[in-house]
Amino acid sequence: MGPRQKTRTRQSPVRTVAEIISVIVILALAVISFIPPFHGEAKTELDHGALTYQGQMAENKFAGQGKLKLRDQDYYVGQFKAGRFDGHGRFISHAGWSFQGDFKRGTPSGNGELKLQGKTLYKGLVKDGKLVDAN
């Protein structure tokens, strides 16, 4: 190919094919780079199996509705965002208490109800994890 190139008027078909393939590869890679990471229902484990999760995932983290179980059988079922409790959810402790209400970036915030052995301890507004109303 080399020395003949100097006098060529048309390039070799091999080179043309190689150029076309390169362009196709580049376009394919461009498309691949835009495909979002896995999004959908999944079952997964974290922290060497101490946390088990079943539910919606996006960008490799919990996102949307799901259920997260801890090793001590405590569990959270509800909304997640970027892997953290966010939105409406319910936390059930093995010790017999539960919280149902709203979370913002991992902290109870919004309306919430705390129960112990089925009896309501508190129902009302919660802000940054703190009780705003007292019954």
Binding site: G2, P3, R84, D128, L131, A134
Partner: protein
């Protein structure tokens, strides 16, 4: 025709970018080097378009695309393939999601990939290896568009112009008007889009908002041309002399370097004029070089400058991933030096041998001539081996970095602790109703007497604390930890004040903040020291970052904190910044800030906190 002094423009652009990356805290505005490259490319491409039309009365689109393809694509593929094996030298976290990064780099979409992912917190600590290819994406998008513009303009003008001598001025006017409109539109989009942003990635990386330097360059290219200068430009050239041209070049160079010192990436002014001024200075430098070329027919360009200009594109491609890797293995100056030398060597190999041979041309190396036939076997074998290694690295790469995963898991446990704390409060409220605030009435005591402070330790921390939160909680007696990524001193202040207001802040307050120190770190720290209620003892944990120089805000914050106990007796220092530096093994394979996941780090961190708490026992309370 090679315009002699253009090499200086290229070398200036490269030097600005390298200095910016190597010394980001000092040369904060060096990113304008990319705008110098952009303006120069716009100028050169458009001047050559004008020349081609002047010579042949036509513009061949496919040939234009092919030339751009051979100039840009092979060096890029080579750089990616040669860099990947070096990632074995650093931690696995550096290749997190590397497949998508490579796809974006080779698919010329890095700029949009970065807009989508670059803002994430973890990327501050583990930079993307191919983030710098964002500029190639914008460049490629410009070439595709501008080639189409020139092609349709040439066709249109050929059809509509009967007199041949009128065609070139019309082609020029067509390109000039469009370049002006596109430059104005792109700059206006950046100007407007930058309003209200704190993270400017969106306007910085987008091809729409950051293509104006190309079009400004194009406009200059239309106005001057190379072989066919406009009459106005001819008369400027006729009246100019080499001293004036050199002085202009020098002044524009000084202007660019000054901007490199003054501008900052996260400043609105950068997007509302800074980049434009840099582009115009680059334009002035290009014009002066063009004049100087004509005025110095008997002076040869120094060969080393020609050499650096030749390899500048590949050096740009290699320097960033090499620097990211080396800066985690050695001191900054060593990393900068090794990066520069190795980038230049690899770029010379790429530019003088591999690129011509791949393009089907002979390569001249010293007195030897090499061609594809001679080199095809080694190129194919090494190429395939590198593709194999890259495939392996991509397949083996984690989706989330261990840093991100570790912070995420710690965050989940913190969420659980927070629900439990809310439950504890409700339980306490039922057994002691007076402890809870009653709606509509102020709490009985806004601030408890010092003796009423909750016993124990409140730890307020950032991502470093979050990463070791569980171990710390188990090993610091009677502690409550509130840690979050990207927490600066002002945010820690808010957390502390909120806890204080709600009588949740315990007697010992440990502040582990500073990895993300902003410019107002001193003011924010003093606010926290002053507003802490009487009765508390304050422990300040100095930040540590293996890469931080003495002029980094995080280092300065540590220095400030160490001076405080003399003045404020209730303050004790937990000198993480000093002790961590003595234990590099704790940071092996990490970003040099977060040791989360390394047990020795957990132990050391808790030890530093506990020692400071023990020392604080003997200090007076505030």
């Amino acid at each position: 025709m090679r315009i002699k002094w253009f090499s200086l423009v290229r070398v200036t652009g490269l030097a600005l970018v390298l200095l910016y990356h190597f010394f980001q805290t000092k040369f904060t505005g060096g990113f304008i080097g990319v705008d110098v490259f952009f303006a120069f490319s716009g100028f050169l491409i458009t001047a050559l378009m004008v020349d081609e039309f002047g010579r042949s009365g036509d513009f061949k689109l496919l040939a234009f695309y092919r030339r751009r393809f051979y100039r840009i694509v092979p060096p890029l593929f080579l750089a990616v393939l040669l860099v990947i094996p070096l990632t074995f030298l650093v931690g696995h976290d550096f290749v997190t999601n590397i497949g998508r990064q490579i796809a974006a780099a080779l698919g010329f979409t890095t700029n949009y990939f970065e807009i989508a992912t670059g803002g994430s917190y973890e990327n501050k600590f583990i930079p993307h290896l191919f983030v710098h290819t964002w500029s190639l994406a914008v460049e490629m998008h410009f070439y595709i568009l501008w080639g189409l513009v020139a092609f349709s303009g040439a066709k249109l003008i050929k059809r509509l112009t009967k007199k041949a001598e009128r065609a070139l001025p019309r082609f020029r006017a067509f390109l000039g008007i469009l370049a002006f409109l596109l430059a104005s539109g792109s700059f206006a989009a950046m100007y407007i889009g930058a309003a209200g942003l704190t993270d400017f990635s969106r306007v910085y990386f987008s091809s729409v908002t950051h293509s104006f330097p190309f079009f400004v360059g194009s406009l200059l290219g239309v106005l001057s041309g190379i072989k066919y200068p406009l009459p106005l430009f001819k008369s400027i050239m006729a009246h100019g002399n080499k001293y004036v041209a050199s002085a202009m070049m020098y002044l524009s160079f000084v202007g660019l370097v000054s901007l490199g010192y003054w501008l900052k990436f996260d400043q609105l002014l950068t997007y509302r004029g800074g980049l434009l001024v840099a582009t115009l200075l680059a334009g002035l430098m290009i014009y002066s070089a063009r004049i100087l070329h004509d005025k110095t027919p008997n002076t040869a360009e120094p060969r080393w400058i020609t050499f650096l200009a030749d390899v500048s594109y590949s050096v740009y491609l290699f320097h960033w991933p090499l620097y990211v890797i080396f800066s985690h293995l050695m001191k900054n100056w060593q990393a900068a030096l090794l990066t520069t030398v190795l980038s230049i060597l690899l770029s010379a190999l790429s530019y003088y041998i591999l690129e011509p041979v791949i393009a089907g041309k002979p390569a001249h190396v010293f007195s030897h001539t090499l061609n594809w036939r001679q080199l095809q076997a080694p190129i194919i074998v090494v190429g395939l081996a590198l593709v194999g290694v890259t495939g392996y690295v991509v397949k083996d790469a984690p989706q989330l970095s261990s840093l991100e995963q570790n912070l995420w898991i710690s965050g989940i446990y913190q969420d659980v602790d927070k629900v439990a704390a809310t439950h504890d409060m409700a339980l306490a409220a039922t057994t002691k109703p007076q402890a809870a605030a009653v709606k509509g009435q102020p709490a009985p005591a806004q601030r408890p007497a010092p003796t009423d402070l909750p016993k124990g330790v409140s730890i307020i921390g950032d991502s470093v604390t979050l990463g070791t939160r569980r171990y710390l909680g188990e090993h610091v007696a009677d502690s409550a930890i509130d840690a979050e990524g990207d927490r600066t001193m002002d945010l820690a202040y808010k957390v502390m004040m909120e806890q204080q207001k709600n009588n949740l802040l315990r007697q010992y307050v440990v502040i582990c903040i500073g990895t993300n120190a902003l410019d107002d770190y001193a003011e924010q720290t003093m606010k926290l020291v002053n507003d802490l209620a009487p009765g508390h003892k304050l422990i300040l944990m100095t930040p540590y970052n293996a890469q931080a120089g003495a002029d980094w805000n995080s280092t300065r914050l540590g220095d400030l904190e160490r001076t405080l106990p003399d003045k404020y007796k209730f303050i004790t220092i937990a000198d993480w910044g000093k002790i961590a530096a003595q234990h590099p093994e704790v940071f092996e394979g990490t970003d040099g800030v977060h040791f989360g996941g390394i047990e020795a780090g957990d132990i050391l961190y808790a030890k530093v906190v506990n020692q400071a708490l023990a020392a604080a026992k003997h200090t007076p309370a505030k």
